[in-house]
């Protein structure tokens, strides 16, 4: 089963994402900020997630900072940044930091699932994109 780590500072958004992703059949671990996300990764150890979804803006430690640390530590896990695009240079910066993909807020559900499937190497499993 595809394992996901999802981090978002809004608990309701996080809950919604978790429930829907679980419904799609994913194994979901959640975190409400960057520090927690790094803790969850450490707990997982070798059993690391297949894809990480990070909200770019979070208190304590932002998704961008988490991304930077992960790539700094040599991690190759695909990371999808979810960004509100508040500034035009953000996508370029995140890409240069090693983001695998960027999803602008708000996103269509099918787009998100499509991205996850593509990155998890399960192409064809979702298949409901038009």
């Amino acid at each position: 089963m595809t394992r996901l780590l999802v981090a978002d500072d809004s608990e309701t958004v996080l809950l919604m994402l978790q429930r829907r992703l679980e419904m799609e059949g994913y194994d979901v671990v959640t975190a409400t900020d960057g520090i927690e996300a790094l803790e969850r990764l450490e707990e997982a150890g070798a059993d690391e997630p297949d894809v990480i979804l990070l909200d770019a803006m979070m208190p304590n430690k932002s998704g961008t900072e988490v991304l930077e640390e992960l790539r700094g530590a040599g991690s190759k896990i695909p990371v999808v940044m979810i960004s509100a695009h508040l500034d035009a240079q953000e996508p370029d910066r995140m890409r240069s930091l090693g983001a695998t993909d960027i999803i602008p807020k708000p996103f269509e559900w099918d787009d998100l699932i499509g991205k996850i499937e593509e990155l998890a190497g399960n192409s064809g499993v979702g298949g409901d994109g038009a």
């Binding site: 919604m16 419904m23 509100a84 500034d87 035009a88 559900w109």
Partner: protein
């Protein structure tokens, strides 16, 4: 404080000074001319009288000469005759003395005459009276001296008369010249005074004109240096007060505008999270149709639809607020036109099918790439298509086309709906504006789609327009510049083509 009289008092003083100068010069000139004339007339009459008197002296001397010789048949001259002639002579001398006045030459000539007369009396008259005949040389010499000095007085008098006339002429001429110079001087003084007045106004007036132009040109910080006559200075102060008030208003307007932008930006942003959650859960529920009863499913579907609509509206508002705040950014990359247009057509097709409308897509062959943010241009096309979809009746034909026009690509969305009137066309890109014609009242939507389309096209350096006539349908067109070969694109061009090329 500097003395700064008002314009009217300056003019008044100017005219008064001018008038006084003219009056003074005229009076002095006329008075002088009058004086010269009077002096001349006095002199002339005096010198005529003096000539007359010298004539009398001559005749008195002739009578005296005759009187000192005894008449025929008498031994001695008549003493009475001699006395009368001498009295005549001295009367004439005393009158002449009055007339010579202070004239040195004439007085000297007169004294010489009297001295010669006295010498003649002593050397010629007295011997004759005593019966002695003076030596022949003496009489003729003494007589000639008297006659000569009489003649000299007469000549000098005539010369003095001529001199007086010449003097009067010179004086008259000089006075006339002086008066003319005085009048010219007064006029010159007035000219200098008035040109000074005009100069004192010119600089501050020029500043005011310049200031007014700058203010009209939109530079609200414009202030003028206050100066010049009181009236102009007052005008300058009033101008500055006006500029102050304009600047204050503009600043207040900017502040309110900024507050509004910030408010919309914040509110939209804050609304987005809860709406995302509502929409997400509602979509999740509708995906579990089998575990819901029909009413629950219906409710979930309505919540999903409404929250999707709400989300769209919030995104539109956010886009506009960002656009107003100058924060709406695009990421232009060389983008293929065909795939982009095809993709939007494909995405929008279900909406047209829902209303039994046909959507035909035509794309000119071999179109060059455009320099564009593919997502944003898709959004523009989707907004235009949504517009056509909503405002055209069921069964309508909508055409989406992309063609090359010179160095630009033109995108056109044409419908055969009710069309737009001239007045409506003016407002079609205004935010929250919606066509008000009868049957289209029911159409939903935020009224922001076309406004956003315009903002986005403007950001791309393109131009959007609408043309239509009532009952003939409407066509929305926008043009975008084609990507220039050899122009370096801002970010890695190769890795981004996948956004516009799903094949």
């Amino acid at each position: 404080m500097r003395f700064n009289p008002s314009l009217t008092s300056r003019l008044r003083i100017g005219f008064l000074v001018l008038f006084a100068l003219l009056l003074l010069v005229s009076l002095l000139g006329v008075g002088r001319l009058f004086q010269v004339r009077v002096n001349y007339e006095d002199d002339i009459s005096r010198f005529f009288q003096l000539e007359l008197e010298s004539e009398r002296l001559r005749s008195a001397f002739i009578l005296e000469q005759a009187a000192v010789r005894p008449p025929t048949g008498q031994k001695l001259p008549s003493q009475a005759e001699i006395n009368r002639a001498a009295a005549n002579f001295s009367d004439a001398v005393s009158r002449a003395r009055d007339l010579t006045g202070s004239d040195v030459t004439l007085t000297a000539d007169l004294n010489q005459l009297v001295a010669n007369e006295n010498a003649w009396r002593q050397k010629v008259a007295q011997p004759l009276v005593k019966g002695k005949i003076p030596p022949p040389g003496v009489e003729s010499r003494q007589t000639k001296a008297v006659t000569d000095s009489g003649q000299k007085l007469a000549d000098a008098t005539r010369d003095a008369r001529d001199g007086s006339r010449d003097h009067a002429r010179t004086e008259t001429r000089n006075t006339t010249l002086l008066v003319a110079a005085g009048l010219a001087g007064a006029l010159l003084a007035a000219l200098i005074l008035f040109s000074g007045l005009i100069n004192s106004m010119r600089a501050p007036l020029g500043r005011l004109v310049e200031g007014a132009r700058r203010l009209a040109g939109g530079d609200l910080r414009t202030r003028v240096q206050v100066g010049g006559p009181v009236e102009i200075a007052t005008l300058g102060r009033a101008f500055n007060e006006m500029a102050n008030s304009l600047e204050r208003d503009a600043r207040e307007r900017d502040r309110v505008e900024q507050m509004k932008d910030d408010f919309v930006l914040t509110v939209s942003h804050e609304l987005r999270t809860p709406v995302t959650v509502v929409k997400g859960f509602a979509e999740m529920l509708t995906a579990q149709r089998q575990s819901l009863n029909p009413r629950q499913y219906e409710a979930a579907e309505v919540i999903a639809e409404s929250s999707a609509q709400l989300q769209k509206m919030i995104n539109d508002l956010l886009d506009l607020a960002r656009s107003d705040a100058g924060k709406l950014r695009i990421e232009p990359h060389p983008t293929e036109v065909g795939p982009l247009v095809q993709r939007v057509g494909r995405q929008m097709r279900p909406h047209f099918e829902e209303r039994d409308q046909t959507l035909s897509v035509s794309i000119q062959k071999d179109l060059p790439e455009i320099e564009a943010d593919a997502d944003r241009i898709s959004q523009v096309l989707a907004n235009l298509l949504t517009n056509a979809n909503k405002y055209s009746p069921e069964g309508a034909d909508v055409k989406l086309a992309a063609t090359r026009v010179d160095d630009e690509i033109e995108f056109a969305v044409a419908d055969n709906g009710p069309g737009l009137g001239e007045e409506e066309l003016e407002h079609v890109f205004d935010r929250f504006w919606r066509a008000q014609s009868g049957e289209t009242q029911e159409v939903g939507g935020t009224g922001l789609g076309l406004a956003i389309a315009k903002s986005l096209v403007d950001l791309h350096g393109g131009a959007i327009s609408a043309d239509s006539s009532e009952g003939e349908g409407a066509t929305f067109r926008f043009v975008l510049p084609i990507a220039k070969d050899g122009r370096p694109t801002r970010t890695e061009p190769a890795s981004r083509t996948k956004a516009g090329a799903p094949t």
